[in-house]
């Protein structure tokens, strides 16, 4: 086992970490949803069931016409209430009302003896295939593809993120079975050498009971983004135009393993409710795709709060009651932030403003450990003035200032050369966090990636 130490980076000192290690039971949520548009970027969805139909957990409800063999299944047993569509009729969510406990029978192919193709087909049927994502582009893995390496993320350094170790605690057997299934995906169709299966973890946690299927344990330590999968991929198996890696989160691995062992579709998800606007930050066990409206009843302590599925740095909006107001497939945490900003007089001239800065322009951080961050941009849009702020939070061998300029000008060729294919929004989020120009860096990143994908 070898350790990789990250030096550059930043742990954003935000207030409101979950206190409990064992999750509280919140499976009482009645409404859950599948969010195809958000989870599978650019999906061309074909819905297989009609509104009002009864579904069992694990029953196929949707396919992506770009990759028809991958099935999207119902996260629970219940009734498909509505199909909500957005611009250009893109399917935003399938909303289910929880009823009963029926599960679609799943015939798991033997994970050791069946052929690799059969194991693959099993995973595509199971509804858990979309948990696999691919770098470059950070999109759902193609079913016809074989990755050069597969990364299981057992660490999360994002602000207030729960420890994946706590999220899968007690599921060792399932996790091991999951790794055994995943290891089969690395077998090339025509035979030959198998790529590595990495389990990336933080230091100081005993993951050895979880290891199986030839997975190699790798330790990443240091400040955020040491727990980002983009960092792991960069150090262990850098990707580019000709190399692809897949990755998956720890809970999904345990889900896949449990499905294989029991034949029943797992319907639970452990998430942390965190953030300065959370009344009592905690770990809860709820349903996959749970409605934030129900889950956060009585949990918010702000007049106007923003609910983010994911961390404050790289999460997506999940406003209760809106089309996206549900736990996503990869969500490990909900971050609640105060969303009401006030215009304060002449604060730019004061050395103390109750706010955090990675620079030493503000002295607050010298006598305060945690900050109640809100959604204030803390500045207005200006030109990029590169004083080295990006470099100080970029641990990868990537030149952030140069890359950001290439992104800003939409120069895809230069961006590829500078390593844009290794990145997703999460990897550039810190750069945008520390930026004094307040430019939309991660938006530029996604636009550039989309443009590159279209060119191919």
């Amino acid at each position: 086992m070898s350790a990789i130490k990250i030096r550059r980076g930043l742990d954003v000192p935000i207030h409101g970490a979950a206190v409990n290690r064992t999750p509280q039971d919140r499976r009482d949520v009645r409404q859950v949803a599948l969010l195809p548009a958000q989870e599978s970027r650019g999906i061309k969805a074909r819905v297989l069931v009609e509104e009002g139909a009864r579904v069992r957990a694990g029953q196929p409800v949707l396919v992506d016409r770009r990759d028809e063999s991958v099935l999207y299944t119902a996260p629970v047993s219940g009734v498909l209430k509505t199909i909500q569509r957005g611009e250009r009729r893109i399917v935003q969510n399938l909303l289910f009302q929880v009823e009963g406990q029926e599960s679609e029978p799943f015939q798991a192919p033997d994970r050791f003896r069946a052929s690799a193709a059969e194991v693959r087909a099993g995973l595509m049927r199971s509804g858990f295939w979309p948990c696999l994502r691919q770098r470059p582009f950070d999109k759902v893995a193609l079913s016809t593809d074989t990755p050069g390496a597969l990364f299981v993320t057992g660490t999360d350094s994002a602000p207030l993120a729960p420890r994946p170790f706590d999220l899968v605690a007690g599921r060792e057997a399932g996790f091991r079975a999951g790794l055994e299934v995943l290891s089969r995906l690395l077998e090339p169709a025509g035979g030959g050498d198998r790529g590595p299966l990495y389990l990336c973890v933080p230091p100081g946690e005993n993951w050895s009971p979880f290891v199986a299927g030839g997975a190699e344990l790798r330790t990443f330590s240091g400040p955020h983004p040491s727990g980002n999968v983009g960092t792991h991929i960069h150090f262990l198996y850098p990707v580019g135009p000709s190399r692809r890696a897949w990755h998956i989160d720890a809970q999904s691995v345990a889900d896949i393993g449990d499905l294989w062992l029991t034949g029943k579709t797992p319907t639970d998800r452990v998430v942390a409710i965190t953030g300065p606007a959370a009344k009592s930050p905690k770990l809860v066990r709820t349903r996959r795709g749970a409605s934030t409206l129900e889950l956060l009843q009585g949990e918010i302590q702000a007049q106007q709060a923003r609910v983010v599925a994911g961390s404050a740095l790289d999460g997506v909006l999940a406003a209760p009651g809106s089309a996206g107001g549900y736990l996503g497939r990869f969500t490990n945490q909900l971050t609640l932030l105060e969303d009401q900003t006030e215009r304060e007089l002449l604060t730019w001239a004061l050395p103390i403003a109750g706010r955090f800065s990675a620079t030493n322009l503000l002295f607050d951080k010298f006598f305060r450990k945690r900050f109640k961050f809100d959604t204030d941009e803390n500045g207005s849009l200006r030109a990029l003035v590169p004083v080295g702020q990006y470099e100080s939070v970029m641990p990868l061998d990537i030149l952030p200032t140069q890359l950001i300029k290439a992104l800003a000008s939409g120069d895809t060729d230069t961006a590829i050369k500078l390593g844009v294919l290794e990145l997703s929004e999460a990897d550039l989020a810190l750069c945008q966090f520390v930026d004094s120009s307040k430019q939309p860096l991660t938006e530029w990143l996604r636009n550039t990636l989309t443009a590159i994908e279209k060119e191919d």
Binding site: I14, P238, G240, S242, R243, R306, V308, A312, L313, D314, L337, D339, T341, E342, R343, E344, L345, L346, T347, W348, A349, A353, R355, S357, A358, T359, L361, L362, F373, D374, T375, D376, E377, N378, G379, S380, R382, A383, L384, V385, P386, V387, G388, D397, L399, T401, Q402, K417, L418, E425, A429, Q432, F433, V434, D435, S436, K438, P440, T442, E443
Partner: protein, 394 residues
Amino acid sequence: MKFLRESLDKLEPLFHKGGRLERFYPVYEAADTFLFTPGSRTKSGPHVRDAVDLKRTMSIVVLALLPATLWGLWNAGYQMLRATQDLGLRPADVPHLKALWLGLYQFFPIYFVTIAVGGTIEALFSIVRKHEINEGFLVTSLLFPLTLPPDIPLWQVALGIAFGVVIGKEIFGGTGMNILNPALTARVFLYFAYPAQISGDLVWVAAAKSQWVDGYSGATPLGTMALYGYDQSQYLYSWWDSFWGFLPGSFGETSVPAILLGAGILIFSKIGSWRIMAGCLLGLVWTCLVFNALAPSPTHYLAVPAHWHLVVGSFAFGAVFMATDPVSAAQTDLGRWIYGFLVGALTVLVRVLNPAYPEGVMLAIIFMNVFAPLIDYYVTKANIKRREVRLGIQ
């Protein structure tokens, strides 16, 4: 406070699209966000943000310049008293308030002209280009007067800053896009356009000609060095005088401690690049050592050791405040080292080997401004190559 906010909010529609003063929105925006935090909220991406913004960044640079500015005011007054009343006046015996006042009396018109002319041009460009007025001018407008001698005619100040802002910055697209440091561009323009007044051969002391004192020698330390090399018996100022800054020169350049204080602020706040400053120092020391080894005689200019080069002229000021301009300097970490090193090396090279110009810092920095993109180009290329090797393309 509330009243102020409400009146601003009442005015705002006038400056919006379709409003009567639509064209002047940048001016409104500048005033509005100067008084109040902008209050804009994140839409996506990182939902929380660092508290740093350009206003804060630029105001800290201004703060870092204050020690050098205050020293400059006092010193301008001191030099004036010395030249006009008592050549033997010692720094300790100076009436400090009077010296400050005399200095301010010299400095304020220069600063005011800079702000008025430069600021107007800046605002005009913002209005025509429809972008916001950038805080970068706060720094430019203080840097520029500090590089000027107290006796400079005001029309030259106006011409210089106009040239600096337009040619040094705005034609490239404004703050963040410029290749040259605007304050330095302005200074270099004056240097070449009016060499007689600004090259440093004449005395840089504010005094009316009628009050001229016979026998007052006006050579600057660098001028002396160009003539006599390292023959210390000819030096008019001791090393400590040069270090503390008790000698004639441009407003901001003379005092090393005041500049070091500014450097401390810049490095501590993480706004100024310590890599560039350290690179400048290394480059200067290394070149001096090489020159010292090559010196034909111990009194030759080549023999002047590094500790003298560090304190005379405007090396310290240039290395701390001019070379570190984040936009016109190299923008990779390795590039910053190389860029700084070359600035330091070129400074000595110009001072010692070029007979035409006694001072080399300004030329070294502007020259390296031009070459910074090239340095970055090669650093970037090396990064690209490493990536290709990793991916097995090469």
